[in-house]
């Protein structure tokens, strides 16, 4: 059986990793390649690097950093932030990225998903969906979770899959940074509905949250940042514990 994946997420600003709390207030955490290598050695299953400044400052993506990452680590990694064309995606593929994630640009131009998927395959494109629950409706957010897009989580995720998304990375904006656990009931619905793997993000605070997101939330992978970067939850300890709880992880 395919293993449940643990994915540390590294937010990158000006070539350095940072961790955002509710996407604002940044704190510097170190070199992206060094951190990636460390996590790979610790047993992380994949990594995500997000160029967080890209979507609103119009900055290009971080191609030279991507090559350094691809040379330095031996597990798959996804890059996101500021990818607004198939050419952007192509440049990142050539630099060694295994997958790209698109968010705001796909909301503004959904055809981008079809283009990237048909050119490079669905396995290469992750559609990141940030959503905030308001009055019982999961409102999709754009530009780093700051502005409402006129879309709803379930219908947008379904459309993204039908356009060729290979995975959906769902971040609950309301849970992100709270450390109170993932949005499990919503994740469970989403994962049951979609034909592709769902990566859960937002809300990891302790080890049992990870067990819950896999069992109750039916997530295929769980992404977190601060609990890993701070050293509070070492990846090997987490995976060993999940294994003891009957969660199918790679150790």
């Amino acid at each position: 059986m395919v293993r449940k994946r643990i994915i540390p997420c590294l937010d990158v600003l000006d070539g350095k990793t940072v961790k955002g709390v509710n996407f604002i207030n940044l704190r510097e955490m170190g070199d992206p390649v060094e951190m990636g290598r460390y996590y790979a050695e610790q047993g992380a299953d994949e990594l995500v690097y997000l160029d967080i400044s890209a979507s609103y400052e119009g900055r290009g993506t971080f191609r030279s950093l991507v090559s350094r990452i691809a040379k330095g680590i031996n597990i798959p990694f996804t890059v996101g932030g500021g990818i607004s064309s198939a050419d952007d995606a192509s440049a990142l593929l050539d630099s060694g990225a295994d997958k790209v994630s698109v968010n705001t640009s796909a909301l503004e131009n959904p055809d981008l998903i079809d283009k990237i998927a048909s050119k490079f395959g669905s396995q290469f494109i992750v559609v990141a969906v940030d959503a905030l629950e308001r009055d019982g409706l999961w409102q999709v957010m754009k530009k780093g979770g700051r502005y409402a897009a006129n879309r709803e989580l379930f219908e947008w995720s379904e459309e993204a899959c039908s356009r060729g998304a290979g995975e959906i990375l769902f971040t609950s904006v309301g849970h992100d940074g709270t450390r109170g656990g993932f949005a499990c009931s919503t994740l469970s619905l989403l994962s049951s509905m979609l034909p592709v793997p769902v990566i859960a993000s937002g809300g990891a605070g302790n080890m049992s949250h990870f067990a819950q997101v896999f069992s109750d939330g039916k997530a295929d992978a769980a992404l977190a940042a601060s609990v890993f970067h701070s050293g509070e939850i070492p990846v090997p300890v987490l995976k060993k514990w999940l294994d003891s709880q009957g969660i199918n992880v790679r150790i």
């Binding site: 059986m1 593929l93 793997p197």
Partner: protein, 198 residues
């Protein structure tokens, strides 16, 4: 020196980077003279079968590979192309492995099969030092059917051959270049295989 055969497939960067990490020299090429001079060949893989076979035939890479007598490793679609036939694009393939490639069925599982999965029934020289049930990284929607040439099997919905071996031809459905230390061990094992004649 290892020649990575260039048939326009993606993700050659990662494979080259992995070979560099284990200290193996390589070149990416579709030149006959370079391929004929290489100590071993790798047919890498990301892409679609019918398109890939068209490029291989246009560049006469099939004839060139058949002129060599060195070990050949196919990775992911590279291995699928070395089978006799692929359901993807209804494509006749190279026929180095006597098995065909079938679409994975969503029998209670998600397709593409993406992530780490274990290999079982592990045997053969690619897997020296690799333990039974070791995990490797997979990303694919098609896979070779169970076969006598299988040197490991994996279950995702149904069972498929996660690696194949026949004479000097080797293949892995998973990506060793993305499979951590175990993957690097498989690449190192391939590099250590002495030339075998068919």
């Amino acid at each position: 020196m290892t020649a990575i055969i260039d048939y326009g497939s993606g993700n050659i960067f990662s494979l080259g980077a992995a070979l560099e990490r284990i200290g193996e020299e390589y070149t990416v090429t579709s030149e006959e003279s370079v391929i004929l001079a290489a100590e071993r060949l790798i047919l890498p893989g990301v892409g679609e079968a019918s398109h890939a076979m068209r490029v291989i035939r246009e560049r006469k890479l099939d004839h060139i590979i058949e002129k060599t007598s060195v070990p050949v490793l196919g990775i992911c679609i590279g291995m699928q192309l070395m089978c006799s036939y692929s359901e993807e694009g209804d494509t006749p393939c190279l026929g180095y492995f006597a098995t065909s490639v079938k679409r994975l069925l969503p029998e209670g599982v998600k397709i593409p099969h993406m992530g780490w999965n274990s290999i079982n029934g592990v045997k053969g020289s690619l897997f020296e030092g690799i333990k039974e049930g070791e995990c490797f990284y997979f990303v694919h929607s098609f896979a070779p059917a169970p076969s006598l040439s299988a040197t490991s099997m994996t279950k995702h919905g149904s069972l498929f051959s996660s690696s194949l071996e026949s004479g000097r031809f080797f293949g892995t459905q998973f990506h060793p270049e993305k499979s951590g230390e175990a993957g690097e061990r498989v690449l190192r094992n391939f590099i250590n295989i002495r030339n075998k004649s068919l």
